[in-house]
């Protein structure tokens, strides 16, 4: 087949066509594009998520789905902020996108719904663990101090997931790429490794609620945990042995955690998703 031509992402919806400097594209998933930009002041960083309309589907269905999903994500974020769960706060939102009632017109297929979120500083947990595993491999052993540090870090991951579930929300795509370690003091994230130690202090913030839903069912909670467990298995072979600490941190974070953990055993047994991850 012909190689793809140089890809140019579609233009940004209003009002971001006014933005100077233009938002920087960070990632492009199947559903959404994520940009870094600012909000309200030129020095306040923010994350912009755009859900472009999908020209393959019927315009009525497209509007319905785009709107439903951006709202679902926004509602989850707003709720979690109210409950004090560490997630990026919802700052602004447009579920219509460019389209109905837009005085400025605009071609179909351009634009889409968007939401602006608080910018979370720090490294994704996947990178923190990769750095830590590299260090451990280089040294050939895990010292008692290092083991306690990583165990504590894992418990804090469990605490954050527990806080999420406690608030009645399930994530839907819980991997170590969707967790950010927000350093206790800003600006320390990048300058790690040099002193031969990987910083694991700080708060574990949950991100990307694109597949999240409001649910308090043990099954949904258990699937969240199972997906996270599988992600550790496939991505962090040296850290997997400490995953029990994640579950420990989870257990101590809310009362109904016990039944969700019980359900996790069933989900593991079923293993329906066994071949799907990685």
């Amino acid at each position: 087949m012909a190689p793809p031509t140089t890809y140019t992402p579609p233009p940004l919806p209003t009002p971001f066509n006014n933005t100077h400097p233009a938002p920087t594209l960070l990632t492009q998933g199947a559903e959404a594009r994520l940009y870094k930009t600012t909000h309200l002041t030129p020095t306040t960083p923010a994350a912009l998520k755009v859900r472009p309309s999908k020209p393959y589907r019927h315009p009525i269905l497209d509007r319905r789905l785009t709107r439903q999903r951006i709202l679902q994500e926004a509602r989850c974020l707003a709720k979690l902020v109210r409950e004090g769960v560490p997630v990026p706060a919802l700052l602004a939102l447009d579920w219509e996108g460019q389209g109905a009632g837009n005085a400025h017109g605009g071609e179909s297929g351009i634009g889409g719904a968007w939401l602006l979120m608080e910018w979370i500083d720090g490294l994704v947990v996947r990178v923190v663990l990769e750095r830590w595993e590299r260090l451990v491999r280089a040294e050939g052993r895990i010292s008692g101090v290092e083991e306690e540090r990583v165990r504590d870090f894992m418990r804090r991951i469990g605490n954050s997931v527990g806080a999420l579930h406690r608030a009645g929300v399930v994530h839907g795509d819980l991997t170590t790429s969707n967790l950010i370690l927000r350093p206790a003091s800003p600006g320390t994230a990048e300058a790690e490794e040099e002193d031969g130690r990987v910083d694991m202090d700080g708060e574990v913030v949950l991100i990307d609620f694109g597949l999240a839903a409001q649910s308090a069912q043990d099954e949904d909670r258990a699937v969240d945990l199972y997906v996270l467990e599988r992600a550790f298995g496939s991505t962090h072979p040296h850290t997997e042995q400490f995953f029990e600490e994640v579950l420990k941190g989870y257990r101590e974070s809310f009362k109904a955690a016990a039944t969700a953990l019980k359900r996790l055993e069933d989900v593991r047994m079923r293993g329906r998703k066994r071949s799907m991850i990685g």
Partner: protein
């Protein structure tokens, strides 16, 4: 090397003969014959009737295939048959036929996974090397990508297959099953203009279709559109918006939908779900190519929608026509021969069949 392939996991009985030239040049289809058991409108095909159909046709089809390929029995290297997944009784009748030929001719057996057959045939015909595969038929709905010796299932239906959803709605409308219910729905959908709101159930890369079927069956009943067409009076009356999902959406209908509108809406909804989950898998594995296989893959609207999605990702869609999309014997011969060449054999005492046989259970030794 030459393989004969026998397929009968559903209502199609297929016999195909595939040649893989020893010089490594492009494989050739020497014969590809099919006979379909067609049930009357409003009815599905039952396992025992389908099995009887396969039993009474299999010898005729094998003879015809050999004749068409201008081959004698001695030229054949192995006998490939569908081990599963599929309907028990039809699978069994074809497995018995394969065993009988194996003993009669003294040729070795190769049991083939039906889904892998579709994938390998699609790859061969389209030349697509490493696509994300959407496998959609009356019995299966899977989003598949290859990784280290397995066709891994990234997403699948959580209840009924997409083709089953279409077939059963065709029954509700008493649409003919000849040549296929899905084909007739597709033709009717072309006349549809109005989108009625239906549930849309995607969970990550998985889909669910049973709720949609219940909703559209309900709409057909509400508007008196079920049953035979000639019995239905269709004056365009304005009725209050009916909302199948109980949601308040912009898509609510304002005038009474027609049978065509329902077919159109069903297709638009379920195909959007398929394209969405396929796109998610493509993003996940970083692929830009899609291959659609299985009977529903013949649908031109599905191909069109998939094409738009793939184009927007800087890639392309590959699909085959009804000769290869719909169940056939040649795909079993193709996948079987690939395995046979790596030394794979199915001993007689293991030449069983199974209704459940996951795509990712097959060790794909013939790929890197």
């Amino acid at each position: 090397m030459i393989a004969i392939g026998l397929e009968g996991s559903a209502n199609k009985l297929g016999v195909g003969i595939m040649l893989h030239p020893n010089d490594g040049s492009t494989p050739q289809v020497l014969a590809n014959i099919r006979h379909t058991y067609v049930s009357p409108p409003g009815e599905g095909f039952l396992p025992k009737d389908t099995a009887r159909h396969h039993r009474s046709w299999v010898v005729k089809l094998v003879r015809k295939a050999l004749k068409e390929a201008r081959l004698s029995v001695q030229d054949v290297d192995c006998i490939c048959y569908t081990k599963g997944p599929g309907m028990g009784a039809p699978l069994q009748s074809v497995a018995v036929a394969a065993r009988m030929l194996s003993l009669l001719w003294g040729k070795e057996l190769v049991g083939v996974n039906h889904c892998v057959g579709h994938i390998e045939m699609g790859r061969l015909i389209t030349g697509s090397t490493n696509p994300v595969v959407l496998y959609v038929s009356g019995g299966n709905t899977q989003v598949i990508a290859y990784s280290s010796q397995r066709y891994r299932i990234f997403g699948e239906t959580l209840d009924i297959a997409v083709g089953n959803c279409l077939d059963r709605f065709a029954r509700t409308l008493h649409i003919s099953n000849d040549p296929a219910p899905g084909y007739n729905i597709e033709q009717l959908a072309k006349k549809g203009t109005q989108l009625v709101e239906l549930p849309y159930t995607v969970k990550g890369m998985d889909c669910s279709f049973s709720g949609i079927l219940a909703a559209i069956d309900g709409l057909a009943a509400t508007y008196g559109l079920g049953g035979k067409e000639e019995e239905i009076a269709t004056p365009p009356v304005t009725t209050p918006a009916v909302d199948a999902t109980g949601e308040n959406g912009n898509g609510s209908i304002t005038t009474k939908p027609t049978r065509a509108d329902l077919c159109f809406s069903l297709q638009e909804t379920i195909f959007s779900m398929l394209v969405e989950t396929t796109e998610r898998a493509m993003a996940h594995v970083g692929s830009t190519e899609v291959l659609i296989v299985g009977g529903v893959g013949c649908n031109e609207r599905l191909q069109e929608m998939m094409g738009i999605m793939a184009r927007d990702r800087g890639g392309s869609v590959h699909a085959t026509d009804e000769r290869f999309c719909i169940d056939n014997g040649i795909m079993i011969a193709q996948a079987g021969l690939l395995a046979y060449k790596t030394g794979f054999r199915t001993p007689l005492k293991e030449s069983t069949c199974t209704q459940r046989f996951r795509t990712d259970d097959v060790f794909v030794k013939w790929r890197d």
